[in-house]
């Protein structure tokens, strides 16, 4: 009985919300407004913002709808991390504040700002359109609505988690490469693309994949795992990105793009020497011309610093490479068998 009484005991604190403000129609640059409000334990960041809007400053602008972690519209950066305001407890954020008692609220990154905490989602929608993020049905139009299009449970499990995405764009906001180039496909679109490409009802797998392997596509992901770490639905986004890459190598071959060539080089070197032959990695990834143009000036300095990786003949194989190689090749046979039975 004591426990339940304790759980229901509501504590109260004065909390400062430091809110990003910018109205491009009147402001020359962004600024922060501090709102100090009394907050009870159990209150979310969104409810606090609603309180501020209702009782202190009606001009604070943000998007919110379902208030239950379903619609994905209230994603914003709360103390630096992109997350949903409606599922984030003020008490949890307070426990990790850099400045005690102050919660910093900012708009998502990597999307154009409209006003205060509202960003323009159109670039994301445009990318979803560009990469055909829908099932392009193989069912004839004349049959639609007349019969069911069944999906096996086994198949559904391959993209079950990906369907949890609510397009809140937290991953988009946290992406390292998108921050470096706004044309990058973005994690949410890669996740959706993966989900469509493994759906047996879809008929444009090859077209979508061809688009995904182009510049600014799947090979530009730098494996920083920030998308996955910030996903409000805990979706393993990197598994989807790796899934597209695995599919690309299987369907389009290992010599298709510089990304595929780069990845395949690891496989080759491990089988041959057990060690990566770094000296030739740029050439094998991008060819001789690119390597000379891009890396020659740096290579000269590296030679002076004795920092260049050894040429292939001088890369010592791992001890016991012969037995290792035999095991590695035997595993290649296992993989071939798997692929055969998979195709059947």
């Amino acid at each position: 009985m004591t426990v339940s009484t304790d759980q229901h005991k509501e504590e109260k604190k004065d909390v400062t919300f430091r809110v990003f403000r910018f109205n491009p129609q009147v402001d020359s640059k962004p600024y922060f407004d501090d709102y100090k409000i009394p907050v009870e334990r159990g209150i979310t960041v969104l409810r606090s913002l609603n309180y501020i809007k209702e009782h202190i400053d009606a001009s604070v602008s943000f998007r919110a709808f379902c208030q239950a972690g379903i619609c994905g519209s209230c994603s914003m950066r709360i103390n630096g991390l992109s997350q949903l305001a409606c599922t984030t407890q003020v008490w949890d954020v307070l426990a990790k504040c850099r400045e005690e008692g102050i919660i910093k609220i900012e708009p998502l990154r990597n999307l154009p700002l409209i006003k205060d905490l509202i960003v323009d989602m159109d670039p994301l929608v445009d990318k979803m359109r560009h990469y055909s993020n829908w099932v392009d049905s193989t069912m004839a139009e004349s049959e639609m609505g007349k019969k069911e299009f069944l999906v096996s449970e086994e198949e559904f499990l391959r993209y079950d988690k990906a369907t949890d995405c609510i397009l809140c764009a937290s991953c988009v906001s946290e992406c390292s490469i998108l921050r470096a180039n706004k044309d990058y496909v973005s994690p949410a679109v890669l996740l959706k693309s993966y989900r469509m490409n493994v759906d047996s009802r879809d008929g444009i797998h090859d077209l979508r994949l061809a688009e995904l392997v182009k510049d600014h596509g799947v090979w530009d992901c730098t494996h920083c795992y920030r998308c996955q770490e910030s996903c409000v639905k805990s979706i393993p986004i990197m598994d989807a990105i790796h899934g597209i890459r695995e599919d690309a190598i299987e369907c389009r071959g290992a010599k298709d793009t510089s990304g595929a060539k780069h990845a395949e080089a690891f496989m080759e070197d491990i089988e041959k020497k057990g060690k990566l032959v770094e000296a030739t990695l740029p050439i094998r990834t991008n060819g001789v011309v690119w390597t000379l143009q891009n890396l020659l000036p740096m290579a000269v300095k590296m030679i002076m610093k004795r920092r260049t990786p050894p040429p292939p003949p001088l890369v010592k194989s791992s001890k016991g490479i012969k037995v290792f190689r035999a095991m590695f090749r035997e595993m290649s046979e296992h993989v071939k068998q798997d692929q055969k039975s998979h195709k059947k």
Partner: protein, 282 residues
Amino acid sequence: MKRYAYYLSCINESMTKEVDRSIDLWQKDLGIELVKLHESTCCGGSNLDYVSPKHFALVNGRNIALAEKMGLDLIVSCNTCLMTIRTAKKKLDESPELKAEVNELLKQEGLEYRGTSDVRHLLWVLVDDVGLDTIRQKVKVPLKNYRIAPFYGCHILRPSKVLGHDNPLEPSSLDQLIEALGGQTIPYEHKNRCCGFHTLLVAEEESLNVAAEALEEAMASKADFIVTPCPLCHTVLDGYQVKALKQAHIDNSIPVFHLSEMVGLALGYTAKQLGIKRHMVS
């Protein structure tokens, strides 16, 4: 003397030889012995896992089995090798079928993956096993005049379900080590961000933008140098620094040290002994 099996990372055997050299200098000073696994092979560098998930499990199951045969934990000093080998361990531990398939092949070498050895970063060994108090006592040349920007890198933090040592949002182990060595850590946003290494050869412009942003913030924070526990981050932040800052039109520079070099400096070894002169930015 506490013993560990030490994984040989490809990059530390070629471009960043100073990492293993500097560890060799001071490991006994801190009461640890890292036994080099000359039989270990490349982990696949966060690429093999999707090129061929089964080879990935075999290669890294074997890397861990080599340590298990000696009854020792496997210690790694490259973030990506750490994340990659720990990912394989998780997959093997979660799938009895995969483990059995790998072990059937490993028999040829008299090895077996059992899942008994942990896979840990050298930084974690220093902070958790050697201990900050011991390290404080061993310091000969405290880094007291230095403002140091810790750059953790991604694969010692994320995915946190695989790594799990530091809070990926507010990592602290490297900060604690810096303070134990007498240095002053600089709070800055990029300390848990990305260096851009893994797309250097595929999307160079983007990678260099990522690196330039980190370097710029560290310099703006008035850090004397950056320190990183990952030789791949070092390769970008030091090796590609000139190129990255040129692309970003920034006329400045900042030295970048390996974790192992920073420890070596505080334990009284010289920059020459530690191989710091091999860096591209001095």
